[in-house]
């Protein structure tokens, strides 16, 4: 799969919703469950700048293509947060700069230590850490895109579904970049394959699990991905991840979800 970074950058844009009638939510509001999931997603999108921070302390930022991508990606994700905040706003749930600041402050020492940890790993592994970062991004973006598609299916509201599909389409472009980069870099280095496999098998958690309370992670992932249909979606993700060099046989997402109490009545692959 080829990825043209120049085309991506030139066509990168803030997701639009001015043509979507958000007032439809006033007469036909979303369920509490969907709003809770949207709030989680909104927080995660706004938090992208912190993921960017974790990347910038690694050797990844020295790569021109990666750096350009990150600049565009960070802004697109910010606007995903803005779009979801607009939907939440119509439901009386306000998401403002001060609230986001408060939630980041609440993360405490974990948040302060994260970039230090990333920097240490990055410096130990060196350039090959970029492959891990790209693979990690690929898994996360797959998770995000699948979550939007699932929510659009579970809550087929005429004002929500089109917005979620637009966001998911942008996430798909992010998947393409991360996967292309990861595949190339994993092919080139045995150390990159070993370290990435170790990281994905032992450390990866659902998107948002480092910033949201565990109770929220379980609730939202359960709502979106539990049951046979959810598991099918999760296995599709795992199959795509397992196609990356050195990742054969991994069930990264299913394993992380089972660890959070999903699929108790469904057999493991």
């Amino acid at each position: 799969m080829a990825f043209d970074i120049d085309t991506f950058a030139e066509t990168s844009e803030a997701v639009g919703w001015s043509d979507i009638d958000l007032d439809a939510f006033r007469t036909d509001p979303l369920s509490e469950t969907s709003l809770r999931a949207l709030r989680y997603m909104c927080d995660v999108e706004y938090h992208t700048v912190c993921y960017l921070r974790d990347m910038l302390v690694t050797p990844s930022h020295g790569d021109g293509e990666v750096s350009t991508f990150m600049t565009m990606w960070n802004r697109e994700e910010y606007w995903h947060g803005e779009a979801l905040a607009a939907v939440l706003g119509v439901h009386g749930v306000t998401v403002e700069y001060d609230q986001l600041k408060a939630s980041r402050v609440k993360l405490g020492w974990r948040d302060r230590i994260d970039p230090i940890k990333q920097s240490i790993y990055g410096n130990i592994v060196g350039k090959d850490f970029v492959a891990t970062h790209m693979s990690w991004g690929s898994v996360n973006e797959r998770g995000a895109a699948a979550a939007y598609r699932r929510l659009a299916k579970l809550e087929p509201h005429p004002a929500l579904a089109p917005l979620l599909k637009r966001i998911a389409a942008q996430e798909s472009r992010h998947i393409a970049f991360y996967t292309t980069q990861a595949t190339k870099r994993l092919e080139e280095s045995r150390l990159a394959r070993m370290f990435t496999r170790f990281a994905l098998s032992n450390v990866w958690g659902p998107v948002g699990s480092t910033i949201e309370p565990e109770e929220e992670v379980r609730f939202v992932m359960g709502f979106l991905f539990d049951g046979e249909e959810g598991l099918r979606e999760v296995r599709k993700m795992d199959e795509a991840i397992a196609k990356m060099p050195g990742m054969e046989g991994l069930s990264v997402v299913e394993k992380a979800f089972r660890a959070r109490g999903l699929y108790t009545d469904l057999a493991a692959a």
Partner: protein, 279 residues
């Protein structure tokens, strides 16, 4: 925007400067080689924001959602300003960057060190970072203003648009810097120390010193008035009088100072503190 109105971040992020190539007037204009080289130098600064951001986002600054919203868009704009400069200046030699062992170690461990140090300084660092970008914006703008005077009309128009964008960014940095420096003695002391320690413009330390020297020479020749003018603007910031950063840059382009004005920092901070008490 009136001087009392707070910078509207929401409006800024909604309407950034994006790709400019399709609307540039000066692409293909014949430029003197040294002017094209100087524009490429500014382009590399604009598209090299990652290193500075890596030092900023590991500090308490990243918790401030208003600032991170601004910076996300600022980095986006900087990328496209750089892209426009690249199109105007055309392809050219990129200086061979030979990073010594110390510089490589700084590159690798700088953000790590900053993340640890940031936990000691807290929010005072945010004021320092905003001040750094304010001063850097003044220097880059002076370079582009001079390039505008030297360039043919089409290129001058393009540079004017870029300067318009930089001026808008500058309004945010000016507000954030002035606010922090006015209210925090720690920010003033730290800003004084860090600004004096830096190589200007930001990112110049990632290039051979000769590249900065060539760019400044091509644009300003023996003229020093621009540097004096920016130093005066720095003098007017709370607690930052007497640093002479830009005149130092002109004397020794691309090189950090041998000695940091620590004594001066203490006395200046003490003076600012006394002023605060008197208010």
């Amino acid at each position: 925007m009136s001087s009392t109105a707070r910078f509207d971040v929401a409006a800024y992020v909604r309407a950034p400067f994006g790709p400019m190539r399709a609307t540039l007037q000066g692409v293909g204009s014949a430029l003197p080689a040294d002017l094209a080289d100087a524009l490429r130098y500014v382009q590399r600064r604009a598209q090299g924001t990652g290193s500075w951001l890596s030092h900023v986002l590991v500090t308490a600054t990243h918790k401030d959602a208003r600032i991170t919203a601004f910076l996300s868009t600022w980095a986006y704009e900087a990328h496209w300003f750089g892209d426009a400069l690249s199109a105007i200046a055309g392809a050219g030699p990129v200086p061979a960057i030979r990073r010594g062992v110390a510089a490589k170690l700084r590159d690798r461990f700088g953000p790590l060190r900053e993340a640890v140090v940031a936990n000691l300084h807290g929010r005072a660092l945010t004021g320092v970072q905003m001040t750094e970008r304010l001063v850097d914006g003044w220097i880059v703008d002076a370079m582009l203003e001079r390039a505008q005077q030297l360039a043919p009309t089409g290129v001058a128009e393009d540079l004017a648009r870029i300067r318009e964008g930089i001026a808008r960014q500058g309004r945010f940095f000016a507000e954030a810097a002035t606010d922090a420096l006015s209210h925090s003695r720690a920010a003033r002391v730290l800003a004084r120390r860090r600004l004096a320690k830096r190589t200007w413009p930001i990112g110049a330390d990632h290039e051979p010193a000769a590249a900065t020297a060539r760019a400044l020479q091509a644009l300003f020749g023996p003229d020093r008035s621009w540097a004096t003018a920016i130093d005066s603007r720095i003098d007017s910031l709370p607690g930052l009088a007497g640093l002479h950063l830009v005149r130092r840059t002109v004397r020794k382009p691309g090189r950090p100072p041998f000695r940091m004005p620590l004594r001066s920092a203490r006395s200046a901070a003490a003076r600012s503190h006394r002023k605060d008490d008197a208010r």
